[in-house]
Symmetry: D2
Subunit: 277 residues, 4 copies
Amino acid sequence: MCRWLAYSGTPIPVEEVLFKPAYSLVLQSLHARSLLTTTNGDGFGMGWYGNAGSPRLYRSTNPAWNDRNLRELAAGVSSPLFFAHIRASTGTAIQETNTHPFRYGRWLWMHNGLIREFPRIKRELVSAVDDAYYPSIEGTTDSETMFFLALTFGLRDDPIAAVERMVGFVEDTGRRRDIEHPVQMTIATTDGTTIWAFRYSSEGDSRSLWFSTRMDALKALYPESAELASLSDETRVVVSEPLGDLPGAWNEAPESHVGIVQPGTDELRPFSPSASV
Amino acid sequence: MCRWLAYSGTPIPVEEVLFKPAYSLVLQSLHARSLLTTTNGDGFGMGWYGNAGSPRLYRSTNPAWNDRNLRELAAGVSSPLFFAHIRASTGTAIQETNTHPFRYGRWLWMHNGLIREFPRIKRELVSAVDDAYYPSIEGTTDSETMFFLALTFGLRDDPIAAVERMVGFVEDTGRRRDIEHPVQMTIATTDGTTIWAFRYSSEGDSRSLWFSTRMDALKALYPESAELASLSDETRVVVSEPLGDLPGAWNEAPESHVGIVQPGTDELRPFSPSASV
Amino acid sequence: MCRWLAYSGTPIPVEEVLFKPAYSLVLQSLHARSLLTTTNGDGFGMGWYGNAGSPRLYRSTNPAWNDRNLRELAAGVSSPLFFAHIRASTGTAIQETNTHPFRYGRWLWMHNGLIREFPRIKRELVSAVDDAYYPSIEGTTDSETMFFLALTFGLRDDPIAAVERMVGFVEDTGRRRDIEHPVQMTIATTDGTTIWAFRYSSEGDSRSLWFSTRMDALKALYPESAELASLSDETRVVVSEPLGDLPGAWNEAPESHVGIVQPGTDELRPFSPSASV
Amino acid sequence: MCRWLAYSGTPIPVEEVLFKPAYSLVLQSLHARSLLTTTNGDGFGMGWYGNAGSPRLYRSTNPAWNDRNLRELAAGVSSPLFFAHIRASTGTAIQETNTHPFRYGRWLWMHNGLIREFPRIKRELVSAVDDAYYPSIEGTTDSETMFFLALTFGLRDDPIAAVERMVGFVEDTGRRRDIEHPVQMTIATTDGTTIWAFRYSSEGDSRSLWFSTRMDALKALYPESAELASLSDETRVVVSEPLGDLPGAWNEAPESHVGIVQPGTDELRPFSPSASV
């Protein structure tokens, strides 16, 4: 099972979230159990936005805890919006091109979960990717295929509708091949401004997805925290699994929902796959 | 430009051919300019047959000259039939799954050359791979696609006809998309007993392919060589480029031909792509 | 904590011990909990003896479970005597030169444990390595330093005495610097014929060391096993931790002892560090 | 032979110097023959200074031209002072800890050249490293040993005097062992503010060292260049080998000299090793 984290808010060095144990009351709690001490050893990736243009990627097949370059980079890079992902392969090869996050233009995508019996339906799924996107497929995973299907179905114009169509298509394809519960997923995607975070599974028993509490509410809960005070009210962290136990800090997304972290008020909406055309 | 080598004959440690400068008069010459001192730094692979079953692979994205494990393995493995390949990428990612030789069951495949404008026609080519083989595609190269097309067209039953059909299909596909000279190749493939080595290009100006001289003839030329005496008359080396300058040791394959290294008398035949069906 | 395995006996493919779940009754039990499914992800190494000369090494900083080349090699290499080691670093860099087993000429060495506060006394320890061996030090670990100290103290002539002197020297050095329990170790070393396996710690609470039961006794216990029947009576496996639960298959070495696996009758002797000169 | 580059001046993305062919008239010329297209395939490193604290490192044993993370990083990192180095090993292992630049606190160090017969005198040289620095040695190269000797001899207080003592000490040690010309070097070191670049060899025939022309003079030469206009007058590039052929852009350092790139006026001074004490 993979784990992932998405950060949006006051620019901070990436290491504050990935490595440091004492940045702030909230973040202390966020990584009380560090993202990087699990045994997800099948590769690590991070993507971050800087001043302009496309996000940058650092992806490696080393276990994250052994990767010196990752520590250097996490200390040297500050960003207002970044993704990090640690991979536990569900069968596809351990190589950089299979490591999350995936990128297309300004977009990033990362996934925890799987398409069940992916090898049996990969061909049909990949066949549906639009010609415009097909040559950009670099790896061989179910997760990247979902990304390019979502792009095909309009991710850049209407992300939620596109992911609903993508999931509907994968489920239809799988069920035609007698795969009982084709999709299990939490997914985060971003255009560099807004983060969409999805929780869904065909069986209605999805992997977990957590949003940090609104920063103004947290500041009210912990008025003595200088670190919290340094973070903007817009700052938000989304994670595949809760990273700490600070009372009031984390809120689990309900089944079949999508959270939208954006300038202004964030939102939580129901999510349901579209029937394929 | 990649380089490759195929060996069949008296079992010898792989290092004799890959690394050692003084094994024998012939082999001295074969690697007077060592296979491994070029600047082909985009990965290395070897495949070898042992006592039984499928061939074994060692593939790495390290430059061959830096890879300590390769030196250890080349010293520790003796084999009567092995392939070695050093890669110079023509654009696809540097990762083990893109490194030659490729394997399917008992078969190995390696390639020097390219399919021109491969990204433009990849989708059509991959679409033609039979369902039985499709899930075994692991990488993203033109070379591996050629292998799975050849398998689709009957490589395991009639290798020469299958490669002729594969090349014909790639050429037809390319030309329909206005690619002038779609195919440039030398290819070696084997089932563990016989080696087929092809030289062909759409433009009739193919990369080179060389066969070592029959061992009995070489022994007659160099009767004083104890090392030559230790090799069976069946021993043969096929290479993408001549590796030395021993007079009489190397014979260039003509354009559009395929050489067959097999138990008994080896053969050289014309090669011409089949029209697609 | 590292884990290691040493095999001596009827030549078998390395994969039978490292990967396969069903080779034989005994070996089934040996790896019921597979050597490779732990979370020791800081590198893997194996060393094996072939027909002649020095042992060969394969060492990698990939986690063992991700390393395709390891699976290939384990299937392709048969050996009558091999070592395998999975590393969990106690602080030194993750790089091939720090990966066990270490080799000098015909000798192999691997270690589970540590020299406590090694950085504080490394300089003194390395200073004691003989000039003849010093240039062969390639890495930076406590384990390799122990190897070269043992060589300095006569490993090649009298292995047990040399390891006793090495441990005595490390303990003296550590205690002069107020390190309470300087040494924690199980160590295996071999010259390609005999294996010496040590269990010792300064605090008298050593990591575990297990020897497989004599094969004739196991065959008597399990007369119906065809696989056991195929192994010579001399076949023996030594492991840092028990790998299965076949009743009667495993025997724990007592504290402060060394086991000798050799042609003829194996031995178990008390081990005690020598006072430094 | 290694190659290296040191940049100080207007903060620019590292890729402008390492990868881009058209940043400016001067930089065009600087990398007309790109730093990264040589066959130095034994590892790559860069070190850069950001807003505060120690420099960050990215070091890899991949060939630079294959390293996707390097391209990402070079695009994502802007810095007013950075070092880059491509390694061609003179014998020591290919591993990250042997890759330049080396770091200690705020200091970076990189080297082109070698200590001749280093294995013969390594022990004596390392023995002279101060206890305060010894535990920070991570690798096994001559270059890193020179760095820690220079630190021992006072690099942080008086860099030129310290390097003169270091070279004097290495030469004395080498000559006592009958090594004719112990030292061959160009070296760059920095504290994050000033760069010291040394050119020296025992034989008086040193590898080359080049300084870019003062930016105000270049602007006068090429008044039409908008790119030049965007660079501060303090901007300076130091390289081991000339990277282009823009007339007037490059100035070779004379034998046995050290150049000082610093706030205010840069300097060039004679360099001569000190006799050891």
